[in-house]
């Protein structure tokens, strides 16, 4: 029933410029803050001279560690919903520089231009210390991560089972390789910005770029010791997030600090260069050893990951557990370690850990399949896992990965592939076909929603969630409209405001399941309430009916046995003395039902590449992703999510990397001219298949989320295709042309 491919309901607002982003809320008497960033990586600020900046007309104040207002003293007050274990970074806290690009001053002026100019006049002297930022130089110092609440959703590896070393040594077929991933930065189109409106009695209305208005509110109340009713956070539109907005970023802190000190409204926007001054996808090194017996059954699996983190927090991601979920091998050792370096804490970035770990294991599986002389797809069928040993051998709540393999291969034409590397070519161009598996969590967390039937018969539903471009507005409108039998244009869904019912940060691909379930229970409760009122109306045709005897259609409650007997929703509100009718609801994951199952979405990607034999340039000419993600609420927005993920897969595999000069600990390609992501000409023929998957365990809607799973399989499928084209296994991403020369 739900599942129409409708276009985004927020589309017209976005393309006509009506949609407002954090830096676009114009409040009266606004002042402008510009951040000064450190140019060293580690050391002490010995002098910071703001005289010249302060002398400029229009400059109101320059905040540094020396004159900043008092904020919470205890570092735990700076924790947010997504904080890893450790001590969160505190902006302008003291004279210590912990990473390159750290905010060290905030200039506030009457105009943005004056603030920006003043920022260039601030003189800083440092006592710089040597810094360490290069993970590859410190692998031997890797250690176990500190675990914390973050690991509920991002589990650390299970204990080894069997004896992988012995099995590896004795198996007839084996492979081993090291895979290296560099750093990446999210770079959504909208840069981070906060506009703080300073209201009466110091009440703050904060327009923030965030993936969780409630998270920003929590952070501000704690860091500044304010009560919840003094802080409202509003974030109706987000110009892309990819995880960067899961934690409150420092512009929020600085804007609130300045607004409170000056008792003025303040806006702080970061520059594109400053988008490299907080969280990133961490550099990760992985070692894999695999072995199989003579008929291609996996005999040993060893997968080790070493990732970087900051000196102050233990950011972790799930990198190696995917291997255990996809391959149920009796002799498996999975391990994950960290090394602290002089950088900001890494931050979840679309399919964190999944895109890293699955790339490595799926390339390794391809290599082992080749060594065993088995088609890579057949090899995966042979080693298909029916249960998840990383979660105590639980079965999957649903797993239509086989159908992904079959339907994807069929659409792609996999059976026409000639297995030998370099066996397909056109002129200077080598053609390669590769495939890989993708997997991502299907999570659900608690959330609340409110549904109101307004006096003019419209339905208004709200929840303090976010829409980072994923289509939340659209699918929630669809769910609500469907449940109350109303046309879409009479249903308004609102989000991104802490005055609305509580919802968690938008991440982990859980929003459709989480907020969708809250909208479902809330609208169902409202439906029952409306039915009760309708029944009591004078002369009601529904008087003797039970709730099961009616259905909601074309804005009426109708009797099943004779749909012409009905009461219109408008009549119900009219009868209610002209008052709106509302209901709030909470959805909690059904833990009793979920606890015996491992819950994941799956995908298979099939990719064709063309490699220029002389120049090493790689183009992904076509790709098919087959996805099993439960019920698809809206095939159009879901397809867009998968396509977006596939494009990012091309980016990760072939182009994207933040380059750090480790002599300085500074990112060098910190702009979008030099930080390469695919342009339209790099994105050719991308095809998406959603396979049927019914799952009544994951959540009441049976949805698994599609925000991340479309990305996970792509880098390995591309790397495997490059091998098929060239005979070269390139284990370091991105596969730029010089690696293939």
């Amino acid at each position: 029933m739900i599942g129409k491919p409708i276009s985004r309901v927020d589309g017209p607002e976005k393309v006509t410029g009506q949609a407002k982003y954090a830096a676009e809320f114009n409040v009266p008497d606004l002042t402008y803050g510009v951040v000064v960033s450190s140019t060293i990586t580690k050391g002490t600020i010995t002098r910071i001279d703001t005289t010249k900046a302060l002398a400029l007309e229009g400059v109101l104040e320059v905040f540094t560690h020396k004159n900043r207002p008092k904020t919470a003293w205890f570092d735990m007050s700076y924790k947010d919903q997504d904080s890893p274990p450790g001590s969160p970074f505190r902006p302008l806290h003291d004279d210590q520089v912990k990473y390159n690009g750290q905010p060290i001053a905030l200039v506030v002026a009457d105009t943005f231009e004056v603030a920006r100019y003043a920022a260039t006049l601030i003189e800083v002297d440092y006592d710089a210390e040597p810094c360490e930022t290069d993970l590859l130089k410190h692998l031997h110092e890797a250690r176990d991560p500190e675990s914390g609440v973050a690991n509920v959703f991002k589990p650390l590896p299970p204990k080894p089972r069997g004896n992988s070393a012995a099995a590896y040594a004795n198996a007839p077929v084996s492979m081993s390789a090291r895979y290296i991933h560099g750093m990446q930065h999210h770079n959504p189109m909208e840069m981070f910005a906060t506009t703080v409106e300073y209201g009466r009695n110091g009440k703050l209305t904060i327009y923030d770029k965030t993936q969780g208005a409630t998270n920003s509110q929590l952070y501000v109340t704690q860091a500044f010791n304010l009560s919840f009713d003094q802080v409202r956070v509003v974030s109706p539109y987000v110009g892309g997030g990819f995880g960067s907005g899961l934690r409150p970023q420092y512009q929020l802190f600085l804007a609130v600090m300045a607004a409170r000190a000056l008792k003025r409204s303040v806006r702080v926007s970061l520059t594109r260069q400053q988008m490299w001054s907080f969280g990133h996808r961490p550099a990760t090194v992985q070692n894999i050893r695999l072995a199989a017996d003579s008929d291609g059954k996996l005999a040993a699996v060893e997968h080790e990951a070493i990732a970087e983190t900051s000196q102050f927090e233990d950011y972790t991601e799930t990198v190696v557990n995917w291997t255990g979920k996809l391959y149920d091998c009796p002799n498996s050792t999975l391990s994950y370690k960290l090394k602290s370096l002089d950088m900001y804490s890494p931050l979840d970035m679309r399919a964190p850990g999944g895109v890293t770990g699955v790339h490595a294991i799926e390339c390794a599986i391809d290599e082992l399949a080749y060594k065993a002389g088995i088609d890579p797809l057949d090899f995966r069928f042979k080693n298909y896992s029916e249960k998840d040993w990383t979660e105590k051998d639980k079965p999957y709540s649903s797993k239509e990965l086989r159908a992904c393999f079959t339907q994807g291969a069929e659409r792609f034409g996999w059976s026409n592939r000639t297995p030998e590397p370099r066996s397909m070519r056109r002129g200077h161009t080598l053609i390669g076909w590769g495939m890989a598996t993708g997997i991502w969590d299907a999570s659900q967390v608690p959330a609340r929603a409110e549904a109101v039937l307004t006096v003019n018969g419209k339905l208004r539903v709200s929840s303090a969630t976010a829409d980072i471009g994923t289509g939340t507005y659209t699918i929630m409108t669809q769910i609500a409209a469907e449940l109350l039998g109303m046309p879409l244009e009479n249903v308004i869904f609102r989000l991104g405001d802490t005055d609305m019912p509580l919802a968690p940060i938008q991440g982990g691909s859980w929003t459709a399941a989480t907020v969708g379930s809250a909208v479902k229970v809330t609208c169902e409760a409202l439906a029952k309430k409306l039915f009760k009122l309708a029944r009591k109306m004078p002369g009601s045709p529904l008087a003797g009916a039970d709730f099961d005897d009616v259905f909601f259609a074309s804005s009426h409650i109708r009797l099943r046995r004779d749909p012409s007997l009905s009461v219109s929703l408008q009549a119900i509100v009219d009868q209610n003395g002209g008052r709106a009718i509302s209901e709030t609801g909470t959805s909690l994951p059904n833990v009793l039902k979920q606890k015996d199952y491992s819950r994941s979405a799956h995908a298979a990607a099939f990719v064709e590449v063309e490699v220029d034999e002389d120049f090493g340039t790689v183009v992904v000419t076509r790709a098919v992703s087959a996805v099993a993600a439960g019920r698809i609420l809206n095939p159009k927005t879901a397809r867009s999510q998968i396509i977006g993920g596939m494009v990012w897969g091309i980016s990760s595999a072939l182009q994207e990397e933040s380059i750090m000069d480790h002599r300085y600990g500074r990112y060098m390609n910190h702009n979008l001219a030099e930080y390469h992501i695919p342009v339209c000409a790099d994105v050719r023929d991308l095809d998406v298949i959603f396979v049927e998957e019914v799952d009544d365990i994951v959540n009441p809607l049976g949805v698994k989320g599609v925000g991340e799973v479309g990305l996970v399989a792509m880098p390995a499928a591309i790397a495997n295709a490059v091998f098929h084209a060239t005979g070269k296994r390139i284990h370091d991403l991105p596969i730029q042309l010089d690696k293939l020369l």
């Binding site: 140019t39 231009e113 920006r116 100019y117 260039t120 260069q273 002129g427 200077h428 002389d614 120049f615 090493g616 340039t617 183009v619 072939l654 182009q655 380059i659 000069d661 002599r663 300085y664 500074r666 060098m668 390609n669 910190h670 702009n671 001219a673 030099e674 390469h676 695919p678 342009v679 339209c680 000409a681 790099d682 730029q736 042309l737 010089d738 020369l741």
Partner: protein
């Protein structure tokens, strides 16, 4: 961004006067490079002289049969001009390999000649850079020399060990590579009158003064670029090897124009981009092709000669081999009757 004065002179004479008046005044044409540099604080002009009212926005035929490209004609209008497409398809193809449609709609031919290097360290005022330090903006030295230099030069660099004048930057233009192959001539007007600078002499190697990109003198304005009669419309190719299909600067590029007698090369022009502080051309190398039929064997010595003395700095070592292969491919392709095929 610093405060600056802004003027929009309506005559060339006023422009030259204003420009010569202060070492901190800058011409602004399309602004696609200058504004970026100002935002990053690399350029801090005291005055911007907007030349968009000057009469350099046309493409005109020259009496000798050549073509004059006004300095203010946009890259897009130049590439799609019927006479350029007909007589100088190499130039059209080359311009269209650069930047993006939006940028080419703004970027002017004059501005393209003056665009500055994309060296990461040059763009970051906290990094040591001899090219920038000369304007009293940031520390001296050359961070790229021992740093991340994947996009840097392999020919004609200055890499003295004390680093006082080292510079391994490239001049990033595509258009200028074709102009060099075509032996275009740049028309300049300055405080001392008009002069003509052949493309080969317009840009310079860093030498001991890496802060000087070209040979123009203070106060000089480019008014036009003249294309000589010979445009190699029958046998030409521009190959640009880059990290993505569009909107990326060349790692290595090659512009080739050939004149053929049947299968035999009569005359060849080969210019390289992305490898040096200026478009790289060597007539000795080109002469090796004269009288030859085209094959990888006859072209390889030409590539060797063009790349003689090339050296890498670590991350850019691959450019030497890549340039070699690109030269061979581009010359072979130019020789084909229909060079849209490979």
């Amino acid at each position: 961004m610093n405060p600056f004065a802004y003027s929009r002179p309506s005559s060339l004479a006023d422009t030259v006067d204003e420009l010569a008046g202060s070492s901190r005044s800058r011409i602004i044409a399309g602004g696609t490079n200058l504004i970026d540099l100002m935002k990053e604080n690399v350029e801090r002009p005291a005055q911007l002289i907007d030349i968009n009212r000057l009469p350099f926005s046309t493409i005109d035929e020259l009496p000798d049969g050549g073509l004059r490209l006004g300095a203010l004609v946009t890259n897009a209008d130049t590439a799609y001009h019927p006479l350029v497409e007909q007589r100088y398809p190499l130039l059209s193809q080359t311009i269209l390999a650069g930047a993006s449609p939006q940028l080419r709609n703004m970027a002017t031919n004059g501005g393209n000649l003056f665009q500055r290097t994309r060296c990461y360290y040059f763009y970051d005022t906290s990094m040591p850079c001899n090219k920038r330090a000369a304007t009293n903006n940031g520390p001296g030295g050359c961070a790229a020399y021992g740093g991340y230099n994947r996009i840097h030069a392999i020919l004609g660099t200055t890499d003295d060990t004390n680093g006082q004048s080292s510079c391994v930057a490239t001049y990033p233009s595509d258009m200028a590579v074709a102009l060099t192959a075509l032996e275009a001539v740049v028309q300049v007007t300055g405080p001392n009158g008009d002069r003509s600078i052949p493309m080969a002499d317009f840009h310079r190697l860093p030498g001991a003064e890496p802060w000087r990109d070209n040979t123009t003198q203070p106060g000089e304005v480019v008014t036009a670029i003249d294309l000589p009669v010979r445009g190699f419309p029958d046998h030409y190719t521009y190959i640009k090897v880059r990290d993505r299909s569009s909107y990326a600067f060349a790692l290595v590029s090659v512009a080739v124009g050939l004149e053929m007698d049947g299968d035999v090369v009569r005359d060849a022009r080969i210019a390289l981009g992305g490898v040096a502080h200026k478009p790289w051309r060597k007539s000795e190398a080109e002469q090796l092709l004269a009288g030859k039929t085209l094959s990888p064997e006859t072209i390889r010595p030409v590539a060797d000669a063009l790349l003689a003395g090339a050296r890498g700095y670590g991350h850019n070592d691959f450019k030497i081999e890549l340039a070699h292969r690109a030269i061979v491919r581009a010359v072979l392709k130019s020789g084909l009757a229909d060079n849209t095929q490979e």
